[in-house]
Amino acid sequence: MNLREWKNRFFRWLDGDYDVMANIMEGSLEPDESHEKVKNDRKAAHKELTSSGFSQAVIDAERKGFYRIYIGVAIVSCIVLIGVLLYTVSLLPKYGQENPRAVEVSDRYIERGLEETGAVNVVAGMILDYRAFDTLGESHVLFAALLCVMILLKKDKKNMDSRFDDYYQIERDAYFDVSKDSVMRKVGMLIVPCILVFGIYILLNGQNGPGGGFSGGAVMGAGLIIFESAFGFELVDSFFTAKVSMLISFISLTFYCFAKGYVFFMGANHLHNHIPKGIPGAILSGGLILPLNIAVGLVVACTMFGFYSLFKRGSIGGV
């Protein structure tokens, strides 16, 4: 295989037309006449996509010449950026050497973290107590991402009958749908409870050891996804509908906002806040860290499953 062919394949792969795993993975569909039809449909759709409200002449002018310079400049600027960053890092004071860096912040986190936050896990104490404002923002970053994906993928009147929903795709989905597969179901029955319990453990143990809301929520979300792929949406919808998912996210985020707002308010006005720190090492310790971890974990789990569900069927849950 010569270089040109590789390059051609590479760019086709970048465009998404070429599947590297085609004919390798078990169960892939052989390209048939429906594939050709889909390709033509895609081409037509792409043409419409790029030309709506914009003249083809301008696009062509943008493409010619511009692309060559563009690739050249991109490579050069990447190399320059890498060089500059490496040079900067090489100039930084070396670890252990005498340097003018202030250590008062990290020292206090390590030395007095347990006493001041009540959490054995200093990292949890840092992100949910000392610097809780950042984490408040961080949990809303996830929420903002969910909103964007919903705007893009949620099925509605506008994209319901779009040509991307071609029958080939549906056929392919049905072919790969393993929810009727008995091996998948048996294995699912075995591992899903373990994964969910493990997720809850990580979530509840965030103040005492490695873990916390983000990681626990991600594990729980993954458990839900495996549950869905083993048993299908019908079973998930019996307890986890779109409404439930939205309500969980809403209640968790609201709780997070107001609980933290209360702590900020009390702290800034030098008032005593009524949240007990608990005994370090116990489950109920670390003040607000445990409830906040639960809130974050629920949001993360809902968001992860929401993404999966949006990509698979265009809604965050059943009606």
């Binding site: 950042d134 903002a144 702290g267």
Partner: protein
């Protein structure tokens, strides 16, 4: 009146809450809620402004019980409160004048998501204005990036999707570089809070080797924010993003979001690096050169546009050039001019972006110049407001654009450098001339009716009052900034004094 000290915290927390509330509300309820909530926020910001002006000191507010170098902190001074008030006014006006288009462009089931995104955007704008901490700045910058992508893709026509992808890639590159800069600065100083960081940096800047590292890290951070705000070589995402999105998004993105990044940069320069240390770095001259190039090239590209929204968007690139030129001139005068221009441009550009769809509406829904012939005669209200906006952009006296150009010239005089003064005056003259050429061309196009038969297809635009009222607010603010520029300049100067 100590309760007012809590208002900055309240604006952030309540906007975040509104974001998740709109997520569960129905579309129409979400819109009403958002409008009322924003009016409430405007009042709160106004009260903070009044409080800081009367007490003459900024409000430092620890987030939680831990004091400055250990816990987060927010701080509200005159400058932040002034800009927050202006931002809220523009936010309200954009929603009021654009919600009809939101209802048209979006599916009914997604309208509440749009308002949720707007509320999160408000929260991050507020947090970026108030924050005193580099990493909080980064977190809320991330929310701003995501929500602005979301506000672009809501209009599901092909071109917006492409524009949003391009916007997202460039913005993520910018965020990444900003984060790298923050990490390097943290590694150097051991602080994320801006004020303690500045103290450490002041000591470091004496050592030439450390000064070099400081310059490079600040440079990485600056390039990140420059990409996000659309400084000259990085402005190519602008025309598509602003040109095809729903009017409310275009107005908010061009006048608030890209300005918020610049304000964060100014905050980093003033509060984290220290103005004196920054002025020793060569980055400042780069601002001047790129700013001037952006002013000229953005205007030239605007002349080539065949579509009115793309023209206005390219002119935004030129205006970002003005702001960076002011920062390049440096000194208190340069930054005053830059911030005044942020205000003047926000008021003007939101007016233009909210007006062009009204012109297109009476011209077969097309933004192309050839279809827009005599459109101002068909929709007279939109014509008048486009005229006001154009005159401000060109820099005709009485309007905000003139005052800000005057400020740039004065900052050039105060820079005590002949080359800089000549460059600034020439750039201002060239850019104003080019602005005049393409805006007057547009005005002639939309007001002339060569065959005398175009005005007959008069379409009476629905919700006329819902358009005139918010636009009248913007026009009044424009005139206020133009005629009584000394009021806001006085506030900016006082704000900058307590900003560092």
């Amino acid at each position: 009146m100590d309760i007012i000290r809590n208002f900055p915290l309240m604006t952030i927390i309540l906007s975040l809450f509104s974001g998740s509330l709109c997520f569960v509300l129905k579309g129409k309820t979400a819109r009403f809620y958002t409008i009322f909530f924003e009016i409430f926020l405007l009042t709160a910001c106004g009260v903070i402004l009044w409080y800081t002006v009367t007490t003459g000191a900024s409000v430092t507010y620890p987030m939680g019980e831990f004091p400055a170098p250990w816990g987060n902190e927010i701080r509200a001074g005159i400058l932040e409160a002034l800009l927050a008030t202006l931002f809220m006014i523009i936010m309200i006006v954009s929603v009021l004048a654009g919600y009809r288009f939101i209802d048209m462009d979006l599916d009914e089931s997604k309208v509440n998501l749009y308002y949720a995104i707007l509320n999160l955007m408000t929260a991050s704008l507020m947090a970026i204005l108030w924050t005193n901490d580099l990493f909080s700045g980064y977190v809320f910058l991330e929310i701003l990036t995501l929500t602005s992508c979301g506000s672009l893709i809501v209009r599901e026509i092909g071109r917006t999707t492409l524009a949003a992808v391009r916007y997202m890639i460039l913005n993520l590159l910018g965020s990444g570089l900003f984060l790298l800069g923050v990490v390097l600065l943290y590694d150097l100083t051991g602080h994320l809070l801006m004020v303690p960081m500045q103290e450490t940096i002041a000591g470091m800047a004496q050592d030439p080797r450390l000064f070099m590292v400081l310059t490079l890290s600040t440079g990485v951070l600056t390039v990140g924010l420059a990409i996000k705000s659309g400084l000259f070589p990085f402005h190519f995402w602008m025309p598509d993003s602003y040109g095809w999105s729903t009017p409310t998004s275009a107005s908010i993105l061009s006048s608030l979001v890209s300005k918020a990044y610049i304000l964060l940069l100014i905050k980093v320069i003033y509060r984290a690096i220290g103005l004196e240390v920054f002025e020793r770095m060569p980055i400042r001259n780069l601002f001047l050169v790129l700013g001037i190039m952006g002013m000229v090239i953005g205007s030239i590209q605007a002349m080539h546009a065949d579509n009115i929204n793309r023209m206005v968007a390219f002119s935004s690139a030129a205006q970002v050039g003005y702001i960076f030129m002011g920062m390049g001139l440096g000194g208190s005068a340069g930054y005053t001019a830059a911030i005044f221009h942020i205000m003047a441009h926000a008021v003007t550009k939101s007016m233009l972006f909210l007006t062009t769809p009204r012109l297109a509406e009476v011209s077969e829904d097309s933004l192309l110049f050839r279809k827009l012939q005599a459109s101002a005669l068909r929709n007279k209200d939109a014509g008048i407001f486009f005229l006001i906006g154009s005159m401000s952009m060109i820099g005709i006296p009485l309007f905000a654009g003139f005052s800000s150009k005057l400020q740039f010239a004065l900052a050039g005089v105060e820079s005590h450098s002949d080359i800089k003064l000549i460059a600034v005056i020439l750039a201002l003259a060239a850019s104003s001339l080019l602005n005049a050429i393409y805006f007057i061309r547009t005005l002639i196009r939309i007001y002339s009716d060569p065959h005398g038969n175009m005005r007959k297809v008069r379409v009476r635009s629905p919700h006329r009052l819902g358009y005139i009222f918010p636009m009248a607010i913007l026009a009044a603010m424009n005139l206020f900034l133009g005629l009584f520029s000394w009021v806001s300049i006085d506030l900016i100067v006082r704000g900058l004094e307590m900003f560092g």
